[in-house]
């Protein structure tokens, strides 16, 4: 019944892109999300994918304070047609998500946003289809997480459980998500990811796994940059 009611309401989406990183030990290091990839910065590809999926949606980019100047330059050059709201990140991923949600809180409270997508800025290859799938599923069921099934024998030959590799964008109904993070902030609870925090405070909420994409790599190892270049080349360098 709840799902049917949600379906009647149009989706009003906000996308939060996390690019604050964990802070570098090296003063000369660039946060990897600001590295060039196929002629554009990784982060502007992530933003372009999100915005192309939901034109006119609110887009929040969470950055480290020291990246503010670079962020303004890159957005001016590579995403000038998109209105991106910059929010300062926190110590952890959880804190960064909290800061973004507090920034969106007035719009969530008065119903101008009913679905929030949280996306890792270091995943520049997520397709529009994936953004749409998670948003639609979250709107219908409460939460959606893209996942890829991993052969458990790759991890532990004794393991008999099904293991999945979780990706982003993850999407959740906005009011529950905001409430979960406000409660977590009060209780000083830190989840490993967005879904973990939702499960802690809204266990009755269904977080549905949607099919992830093998090409949706997270830039972690140097070879990931080379793989991402190949994927972009296959796609003709378009998002």
């Amino acid at each position: 019944m709840e799902a049917r009611t949600a379906l009647l309401e149009p989706m009003r989406i906000a996308v939060v892109i996390l690019a604050a990183g964990s802070g570098s030990r090296f003063s000369s290091a660039t946060n990897k999300v600001w590295l060039p990839l196929g002629g554009r910065r990784i982060i502007s590809r992530s933003i372009a994918n999100a915005v192309k999926s939901f034109p006119g949606c609110r887009t929040v980019l969470v950055i480290s304070p020291q990246d503010a100047l670079l962020a303004n330059q890159v957005l001016e050059r590579e995403a000038s047609d998109v209105e991106v709201e910059l929010v300062e990140g926190g110590e952890t991923r959880h804190d960064s998500e909290y800061n973004a949600l507090i920034h969106l809180a007035p719009a969530i409270t008065d119903g101008r946003i009913n679905v929030v997508l949280i996306h890792d800025g270091a995943r520049p290859l997520a397709t529009s289809m994936l953004f749409h799938d998670v948003a639609r599923t979250a709107h219908q069921h409460g939460g959606a997480v893209p996942a890829i099934v991993v052969d458990p024998f790759e991890i532990d030959y004794k393991c008999e459980n099904q293991i999945v590799r979780v990706q982003t964008p993850q999407a959740f109904r906005a009011s529950e998500l905001l409430s979960a993070y406000q409660k977590a902030h009060h209780d000083k609870f830190v989840g490993t990811d967005t879904a973990a925090c939702m499960e802690e405070y809204f266990p009755e909420n269904k977080n549905i796994a949607v099919a992830g994409e093998t090409q949706n790599v997270k830039i972690t190892y140097p070879q990931d940059l080379v793989i991402a270049e190949h994927v972009l080349e296959m796609r003709g360098y378009v998002e």
Binding site: R25, S28, N31, P36, G39, T220, Y221, L225, V226, E229
Partner: protein
């Protein structure tokens, strides 16, 4: 982004931790990435890189008019102002890229 070296923290498979990496670019492509702790290098096979570079160059040339047009609409004065300097830099830029490919 021409034969440019950038430094970023990435996970080194050899050190099994986040380390500083030097990333060398030729045009839009990554030529190599070197861990600054263990010096492990990740790079394309040279022949493979040249094939990718040619494909990438074709795409850069094909999309240049549209990119220039976008920049013109955004800031006509800025584009006109920077154009002569950019054109003067082109031969040096391509020479730098080609040198990176054969290094």
């Amino acid at each position: 982004m021409t034969d440019e070296v950038m430094y970023a923290e990435l996970h080194c498979a050899h050190c099994d931790q986040e380390t500083l990496h030097a990333l060398v670019y030729a045009g839009r492509l990554i030529v190599s990435s070197t861990c600054q702790i263990c010096h492990m290098q990740v790079k394309h096979e040279p022949g493979d890189l040249r094939i990718h570079y040619i494909k990438d160059l074709e795409n850069r040339i094909a999309t240049k008019p549209a990119r220039l047009w976008r920049r013109f609409w955004k800031s006509p004065v800025g584009l006109m102002w920077s154009m002569p300097r950019k054109m003067m830099q082109q031969p040096g830029k391509f020479w730098g890229e080609i040198k990176s490919l054969f290094r």
